[in-house]
């Protein structure tokens, strides 16, 4: 009788908690599957682990609420005396270990894939500054700075009186986007000129710290053309929240013509670059 009760209430609790969990997932946001093979792998890992812990959670909480419902003094429950069970303890040590191994195997495979930066067709050096990025295309000899666009920058000032909702891509738009070709294996070399920054575009599936005195590597291969937005993700001072990353992926042909266009305007670029570098020095001097 007691066991039957526990079973029925247990199943009911499992159902209730599963519905609650489902609605909690349904109303919320989830990670993006992104646009690279790696970001999809990460998304699947994320969903797998989330699925496993959700099932464990539902079972554990169902057992707990069954107990809370049935084994209460107000229902006349009399406390049992047991205080250990070697068999139960072995089971709930061994099963979690097996589950963890099952998670570790795919995680290891994806990580090894990420760490292999060989075979790059295009190398881009990313340098973090307080508070903008510099991009250098090592093969094509292009380099420029990329900072928060003017419209966001004026809207974000305290007491600006501009509703951020009226600004396109508020805080996620830059003056010069990082233009890259699709379906091309691109290697990024990341470093910093002042403090530690971190370069992140969620759709690419990873972030990597840009650290002064170190060069970090990472790679990507973007499959779909589009504009992908991210932000600096390592606290880097007062304007940490205002140094977005915007990647524009275009077809390899469009990319070639963009490169050609940059070379024509390179003289102009060089002047603009000197200006913005001077401006950087000024702002960082003012900031420190």
């Amino acid at each position: 009788m007691k066991r039957t009760n526990e079973l029925i209430v247990g199943l009911a609790m499992t159902a209730v908690i599963a519905v609650i969990t489902w609605s909690v997932f349904a109303v919320g946001d989830n990670m993006t599957p992104g646009v690279t093979p790696f970001s999809r792998d990460v998304y699947h890992l994320h969903m797998t682990v989330l699925g496993i812990v959700t099932v464990i959670g539902i079972l554990v909480f169902a057992a707990m609420f069954t107990s809370i419902y049935l084994h209460r003094k107000s229902r006349g429950a009399v406390a049992a005396k047991f205080s250990h069970s070697t068999r139960a303890e072995i089971i709930w040590t061994v099963i979690p270990i097996l589950i963890l191994v099952a998670m570790a195997v795919p995680a290891t495979r994806v990580l090894i894939d990420m760490e292999d930066v060989s075979g790059a067709e295009l190398n881009i050096k990313v340098t973090g500054y307080q508070w903008l990025w510099k991009y250098e295309y090592l093969e094509d000899g292009i380099s420029f700075y990329s900072a928060l666009d003017r419209q966001s920058n004026s809207a974000r000032q305290i007491g600006a009186g501009v509703d951020p909702r009226t600004v396109d891509n508020y805080l996620l738009e830059v003056d010069n986007r990082l233009v890259v070709p699709t379906n091309t294996r691109i290697r990024f070399l990341l470093t910093s000129d002042d403090v530690i920054h971190s370069w992140w575009v969620p759709d690419l599936g990873w972030k990597r710290d840009a650290i002064p005195g170190m060069v970090n590597e990472a790679w990507t291969l973007i499959e779909q053309p589009g504009v992908y937005r991210g932000q600096c993700t390592e606290l880097c001072g007062k304007d940490h929240g205002f140094m977005p990353v915007v990647v524009e992926a275009v077809s390899p042909e469009e990319y070639r013509s963009w490169v050609a266009l940059q070379s024509v305007g390179s003289a102009v670029n060089r002047i603009a670059e000197t200006d913005s570098k001077a401006a950087t020095v000024e702002t960082s001097a003012a900031g420190s």
Binding site: G57, G159, I211
Partner: protein, 535 residues
């Protein structure tokens, strides 16, 4: 069995007023000082959190400039970790450990006084930096160089304050180890000790091991900032990453310093209100010790994105995942303790149950964060903020609240107002989830942490989170009122207080007289409340 009433005669000189508190060497009074200090700092740190949530209430900058926002996030963490959570646990240890092991006082009462009285000065120093021309620390509580070195001269005050907190913690830890190892009553064998004593004993060893590491790390920051050394300056041949390794070698055990005593508290409360002995006592002790050991070999999981060698990333991933095993054992043991018990749901039990559920959710996101490739997405986003607030607020803080309600009748001699306690619980438990659960969504949607303003796509959940934050903050003022009310009066508490309570602390009258166990009690399995099989 113990003579607690005739024990006041050889301590007849007891100063009154301020001097009583300044010069006290009594573990109960020092415990009270710690707890009051902790509650004060909880409100100060909470006020900073309110500033943060108010600024993040909607997109755009409305209230504070980004530089001050960064000071708020940095100070909120330092105040909550070193000012609220850690002193609360030390306060509970001071009050309860001697009562639980049948000792007349802590082993080193004068040092006990000193280790408390350092703290108010340390925090005055720390908080005073907010009013200095260069402002408070703004580089995050982790103080990563080179950013933290860009701070003004107030940085020296911050480092001195951290040194003081470290000294205080080390002395507190020495005292606890000395008390637990030397002052136990006859028959109180190690495996008869209450779990709260066990978890604190292990925590105290962690503190002694890692506080000097933090002191070393911040001293190197100090000399880099003011004496032209280059420990962490790449231009001078140093390595900014070395700081992160040293810091997190302190930082990860520190995380467990803030959760192990919470495990202990919950392991006291659940058996009491389930009226059933703790399930798997010895496995709880071994699980605690395993978690403590593992805490020393997982530090780099805080820095998966810094560009570590593949082998290192894999090692730290596997080691981190292993922690789920002993932690899982604890959760299963608590559920099994409740299973077929005879439960009642007074406020301490409600907080303890909420702890088990919500800490488990924090543990789940912890397992997810351990998966290195997925961490490349989660790292430094609001997902991490949600994770550590689940383990620290609904984990550590809820356990402290549970402990406070559980032992308050023993401290004051009065029952707290049960109706208000329940209101406080439900209000806190609901609002804290409104506050922190949406932060998982924000992180997964791509919102980085430590930003004062955000893109409009994050507006809705930030709004929800802020509303939850204000509600949770308000609920804690109710807690302050409940404490004041309980100190001033209320229904008289019996010695045992709770029907199912077992252990030495429930054999002394409520309120516990200033001096207890002048004659040591004799302990057997019946008093310990569980079988110490290996005893």
């Amino acid at each position: 069995m113990t003579d607690t009433t005739a024990s006041t005669d050889h301590h007849d000189e007891h100063p009154r007023g301020l001097a009583r508190w300044l010069f006290t060497t009594n573990h109960k009074e020092i415990g009270t000082l710690y707890l009051v200090f902790s509650l004060t700092m909880f409100l100060v740190g909470g006020a900073m959190a309110m500033v943060i949530r108010a600024e993040l209430f909607q997109p755009g900058l409305q209230l504070v400039n980004p530089a001050f926002f960064n000071q708020m996030t940095t100070m909120h963490a330092l105040v909550m970790i070193f000012g609220a959570v850690m002193p609360a646990f030390v306060g509970l240890a001071n009050w309860m450990l001697p009562l639980m092991v049948g000792a007349p006082d802590m082993a080193l009462p004068r040092m006990n006084n000193w280790s408390f009285w350092i703290l108010p000065f340390a925090f005055l120093l720390l908080l005073s930096t907010l009013f200095m021309p260069s402002g408070g620390p703004a580089g995050g509580w982790t103080l990563y160089p080179p950013l933290s070195l860009q701070g003004g001269n107030s940085f020296a005050f911050v480092i001195f304050a951290i040194h003081l907190m470290g000294i205080s913690s080390i002395m507190g830890a020495i005292n606890i180890i000395a008390t637990v190892l030397n002052m136990r009553a006859p028959g109180m064998t190690l495996l008869r000790m209450p779990l709260f004593v066990w978890t604190w004993l292990i925590t105290a060893f962690l503190l002694i091991a890692v506080m000097p590491v933090l002191a070393g790390a911040v001293t190197m920051l100090l000399t880099d900032r003011f004496f032209d050394t280059s420990f962490f300056n790449a231009a001078g041949g140093g390595d900014p990453l070395m700081y992160q390794h040293i810091f997190w070698f302190f930082g990860h055990p520190e995380v467990y310093i803030m959760i192990l005593p919470a495990f202990g508290i919950v392991s006291e409360i659940i058996p009491t209100f389930a009226r059933k002995p703790l399930f798997g006592y010895t496995s709880m002790v071994y699980a605690t010790a395993s978690i403590a050991f593992l805490s020393f070999i997982v530090w780099a999981h805080h820095m998966f994105t810094v560009g570590m060698p593949l082998g290192a990333s894999l090692f730290f991933m596997y080691a981190t995942m292993v922690i789920a095993v002993p932690t899982g054992i604890k959760i299963f043991n608590w559920v099994s303790t409740m299973w077929r018990g005879s439960m009642t749901f007074e406020t301490p039990m409600l907080f303890a149950i909420a702890f088990v559920i919500l800490f488990t959710i924090g543990g789940f996101s912890g397992v997810m964060l351990a998966i290195v490739p997925a961490d490349f997405q989660y790292h430094d986003t609001y997902f991490v903020v949600a994770h550590f607030h689940y383990v620290l607020v609904t984990g550590a803080v809820f356990a402290i609240m549970a402990g406070a309600y559980y032992w308050m009748p023993k401290w004051t001699g009065h029952m707290y107002d049960e109706r208000l306690g329940k209101i406080h619980f439900w209000w806190s438990a609901i609002s804290v989830n409104v506050l922190f659960f949406p932060q998982h969504y924000l992180g997964l949607a791509g919102m980085p942490r430590r930003i004062p303003d955000y893109s409009v796509q994050f507006a809705d959940w930030n709004l929800v989170s802020s509303i939850g934050g204000f509600a949770f903050g308000l609920a804690q003022l109710l807690f302050v009122w409940i404490v004041i009310k309980c100190v001033r009066g209320g229904q008289k508490a019996t010695a045992q207080v709770w029907e199912g309570a077992q252990g030495l602390e429930w054999t002394v009258p409520s309120p516990a007289p200033l001096h207890t166990f002048d004659t040591p009690p004799v302990v057997n399995d019946a008093i310990a409340g569980h079988e110490g099989k290996l005893a």
